[in-house]
């Protein structure tokens, strides 16, 4: 295997969620910290799609934002193609062009006052990819056609497009700077299923044609299975399992992964008896000690309540679970 394109090591992000200073002093409250992401490490190979799944509040979007550099890290390291994203330097400026992001809501991520051609040309101008208005206009037309729109659509405004078409525009903008690596944060969650299928197919086609590497964030297990080669499952800020997509869906290791797979409504209507899912995600400000999943886990014992499990390899998968490690599962 060649060197991975993206290396994330021990990523951590803490948010200060305390009330304002005076309120806090008057009420005699301590400062409150929310650990959104804790000890997350993974690698993504060139041309691969790595996905992170998790429920709301698991910290998956925070990881995405730190990887692209939209959010400073509290601790840990993000390295893309050997260049550190977390330490500023001349190399970092050259790297920025190669990393782009696609957001969830195509209604919020496109400037409503700009024509589409200006939106798509912005990265080209910002990174000085091309010189001369004619060359830029030609490239914008080419990009629009690449994502399945017409070159003439560049003269329109975002409101003249449907949700799916707007997401195509967002993809064209992301591609404008000729990136290697695209972080997609729930790119199809706001779309209807038939449109979602169009966008997912488009993203796969573009990956094949342009050799893109994706970090794909989603809460939808079926979408993730369809898109990703490897998947990381997040729970309360930590990766609890990393496995090749097929392995994860065939033999999930971590009890949380099992519960999540069990909970997905099933189109096949196999009539399988479903294990009742217990409880909800605890408050991340005061996460349970030890393994964060232990209050919802049927296999939890004294060790799970006191000691945080680390990711350990089990075949092709890695799971952070004492029960899996001890062979109790």
């Amino acid at each position: 295997m060649t060197a991975p394109l993206v290396k994330v090591a021990d990523l951590r992000r803490v948010f200060d969620v305390s009330r304002p200073w005076l309120d806090r002093v008057v009420a005699g409250e301590p400062r409150l910290w929310l650990t959104a992401v804790d000890g997350v490490s993974f690698e993504i190979a060139r041309g691969e799609t790595f996905a992170i799944v998790g429920e709301s509040g698991s910290g998956k979007s925070t990881v995405a934002r730190m990887v692209v550099g939209l959010l400073p890290v509290t601790a840990g390291e993000v390295e893309i193609d050997g260049v550190s994203m977390t330490r500023p330097g001349a190399e970092l400026e050259g790297l920025r062009r190669r990393i782009q992001m696609i957001f969830q809501d195509p209604y919020a991520s496109l400037n409503p006052r700009w024509r589409v051609e200006r939106i798509i040309a912005e990265p080209i101008r910002a990174f000085a990819v091309l010189d001369g208005e004619r060359a830029i206009a030609a490239r914008v037309g080419e990009l629009l056609e690449l994502v399945g729109l017409a070159a003439a659509d560049g003269a329109k405004f975002p409101h003249q497009f449907s949700g799916g078409q707007r997401q195509r525009i967002a993809i064209a903008r992301a591609l404008a700077a000729n990136p290697d690596f695209i972080v997609c944060d729930e790119p199809t969650s706001a779309l209807d299923v038939s449109v979602q299928a169009q966008i997912l197919n488009l993203m796969r086609d573009l990956q094949d044609r342009l050799g893109l590497t994706y970090l794909f964030i989603s809460h939808n297990l079926a979408v993730v299975r369809h898109m990703a080669a490897r998947i990381g499952v997040m729970y309360l800020g930590r990766l609890v399992e990393i496995a090749p997509a097929k392995t994860l869906f065939a033999t999930p290791r971590h009890p949380y992964s099992r519960m999540l797979l069990e909970a997905v409504p099933d189109l096949a209507m196999s009539g399988r008896p479903r294990v009742a899912v217990a409880g909800e995600i605890p408050n991340p400000i005061a996460p349970p000690p030890g393994c964060a999943f232990h209050p919802r886990c049927a296999l939890a014992d004294a060790r799970c309540r006191s000691e945080k499990p680390a990711l350990r390899a089990h075949g092709a998968a890695e799971a952070a679970c004492h029960a899996v490690e001890e062979g109790r599962l």
Binding site: S194, A197, A222, V264, V277
Partner: protein, 326 residues
């Protein structure tokens, strides 16, 4: 069917008068829901599924109005009732569950007050008995330690627990019909599974007819007995859930099923339907789906297909007998 259906909708039309003409948002749809049956209504945004629900409970936002057809609850027409009479039916005979539990609960009142108010409005229980009933309802919908939670405010509950409270409210007056509009869309998968299981259980126990509106085929497959697939204000296909999910006949229903990524399939590409649903002011003549349909022919562009019975289903497609032309 021997028994009279709880809800019977016949040729319902809903329209919105605008300055540029009248937009028809629901165009002659008909369906029944029997006692104890869950009818799933699926479709993409703009198909008219929520509007159908709003029309049934008489909560169409003006200028939207029912332009034709009839709605019968237990044989009695409810689409032309005066506002006051409809108000007595809503909540008493038709329970409602909406997508966002925070908007269905009043943040300033305790859960107990909201439950007791609903119970006392619709039944003749006294305050003490109403409170006992409220407690029983919270227990039934699976709220842990209901005695302690009864007097809490909605913000003290998590999303899933709030949706349980909303279900308790909907059940408060033992309605014959429950309309659930995207009841699990705002919830995480693990919580969604709990709420689906709960909905199924309580509806069976109370023998209520349920209209479950959602865009999530997985939820329908797990919960519904029959499904109606809506497209551009019309029902494309309606039938038993197994038939519609496993062997859809209408080309739109087929495309919709093929477009859903599942945990079981391994296809490198998803089936895709070209284009998008038409806007209300640009619904094509004939079959509304014809510009996106791979099996389209002349007649589809001129004439609207009426639903035809195929097995236990009804399909609005000229090629339905041929399996949608494919």
């Amino acid at each position: 069917m021997t028994e009279r259906p709880v809800l019977s909708v016949r040729d319902l039309e809903v329209e919105f008068p605008t300055r540029r003409g009248v937009l028809k948002a629901i165009d002659r749809i008909s369906f029944d829901i029997a006692r104890g049956e869950v009818l799933g209504v699926v479709g993409e945004s703009g198909a008219g599924k929520s509007l159908t629900g709003a029309a049934i409970i008489g909560l169409l936002e003006p200028p939207g109005r029912i332009a034709g057809g009839e709605i019968r609850l237990d044989g009695e027409r409810i689409d032309n009732l005066p506002r006051e009479a409809m108000r007595h039916i809503r909540g008493r005979r038709i329970g409602m569950i909406f997508q966002d539990p925070l908007t269905s609960l009043n943040p300033l009142y305790r859960v107990s007050e909201q439950l007791v108010e609903t119970i006392r409005t619709h039944t003749d229980l006294d305050a003490r008995r109403a409170r006992e009933r409220a407690l029983a309802l919270l227990t039934e919908v699976g709220i842990p330690a209901p005695e302690q939670r009864l007097d809490a405010y909605p913000h003290q509950f998590s999303g899933g627990m709030r949706q349980r409270v909303v279900i308790a409210l909907a059940l408060a007056a033992e309605p014959e019909l429950i309309i659930a509009d995207e009841p699990t869309t705002a919830l995480d998968v693990s919580v969604q599974a709990q709420i689906i299981a709960l909905l199924k259980k309580v509806c069976r126990q109370h023998h209520a007819a349920v209209m479950l509106i959602t865009h999530d085929m997985g939820v329908i497959a797990e919960t519904a007995d029959r499904v109606a697939v809506m497209y551009a204000g019309r029902i494309a296909e309606i039938g038993p859930v197994r038939d519609v999910v496993a062997r859809p006949r209408h080309p739109y229903a087929k495309g919709l099923m093929g477009a859903i990524p599942t945990l079981a399939t391994d296809a490198p590409r998803l089936m895709q339907i070209p284009g998008a649903m038409p806007r209300l002011n640009a619904i094509p003549a004939g079959c509304a789906f014809n510009p996106r349909c791979a099996a389209v022919f002349d007649r589809c562009r001129r004439e609207r297909p009426e639903p035809v019975a195929i097995g236990a289903s009804e399909v609005a497609c000229f090629l339905a007998d041929a399996g949608g032309g494919r």
